[in-house]
């Protein structure tokens, strides 16, 4: 071109082009940075491959599905956690301790199961006879017992969380809870559940 070869105009033209290109590159760079930040933000909000279960009852027919679902999820490579609250905490006991408790809490302790082998049933409990029959049938049909399901769940890295607030309320001490259990509150649960793909209330 004629302009390019002009000794006065050529450097001026080059300077102008450089300035335009620099401005455009800076603009694009800012856009890329903005998009990366947005992507990171979106990624942090994406659901994790996680199952969160709330267990509120201490009967065989509630504890069994909770632990079976958690175990299944863990076997599928998902994160699984069970948040036990109210009666659900009784499932996590491995002994009963009365010392250091008030009269009312001692009475409550006496009325609650002290081991996952002592759980009742929500239906057909019949003062314990129904639950005993259920345990017998589970054994006969080679269905894992509740203590074994808990053991296996911990082995498969299922997180079991006991609700600290309801433990205090119901007079359950951490000395009565089996090893491997974590303690937490609503924040622990919400943090886990807010990004879970599956959340169940049992």
């Amino acid at each position: 071109m004629v302009l390019n070869s002009d000794p006065v105009l050529a450097p001026e033209l080059e300077r102008l082009i450089d300035a335009r290109v620099d401005a455009r590159v800076a603009q694009l760079q800012a856009q890329v940075e903005e998009l990366s930040a947005e992507l990171a933000e979106l990624r942090s909000q994406q659901p994790a491959d996680r199952v969160t279960i709330i267990l509120t009852g201490d009967e065989i027919d509630r504890a069994m599905p909770a632990f079976i679902i958690a175990l299944g999820a863990a076997s599928f490579g998902m994160e699984a956690n069970i948040f036990c609250t109210l009666w659900g905490i009784n499932v996590l006991k491995d002994k009963t301790i009365y010392s250091g408790k008030s009269f009312i809490k001692k009475a409550m302790t006496w009325m609650m199961p002290g081991h996952p082998d002592q759980l009742g049933l929500t239906k057909m409990h019949f003062w314990g006879a129904g639950a005993a029959l259920m345990r017998h049938m589970m054994k006969k049909h080679n269905v894992e017992s509740i203590p074994s399901l808990i053991e296996q769940a911990l082995e498969m890295d299922v997180r079991i969380i006991a609700c600290q607030m309801t433990m205090d309320l119901m007079g359950i001490s951490t000395r009565e809870i089996r090893p491997g259990v974590e303690y937490g509150g609503i924040a622990t649960y919400i943090e886990n559940a807010s990004r879970a793909k599956i959340t169940l209330f049992i």
């Binding site: 175990l71 299944g72 076997s75 599928f76 490579g77 296996q152």
Partner: protein, 74 residues
Amino acid sequence: MSEFQLDCCGLNCPMPIVKIAKAFRDLQIGQTLEVKATDPAFRADVEAWVRKTGQQLIRYEEGPVKIALIQKVK
């Protein structure tokens, strides 16, 4: 015949899948595991498990004792 065998006969849901998942932790990529089971839901369970975990079901035999041959591909 596979290099690794797992006998889940007599076990019920969810134990066969739990045992497969545990066994796969120790397997190297390319190795296969032969699983025998009597759980009535075994076929559906094992098929879902390979789909979700991205492993390969090489062979499945139905019968009183069901046999699944699974390969670790990832």
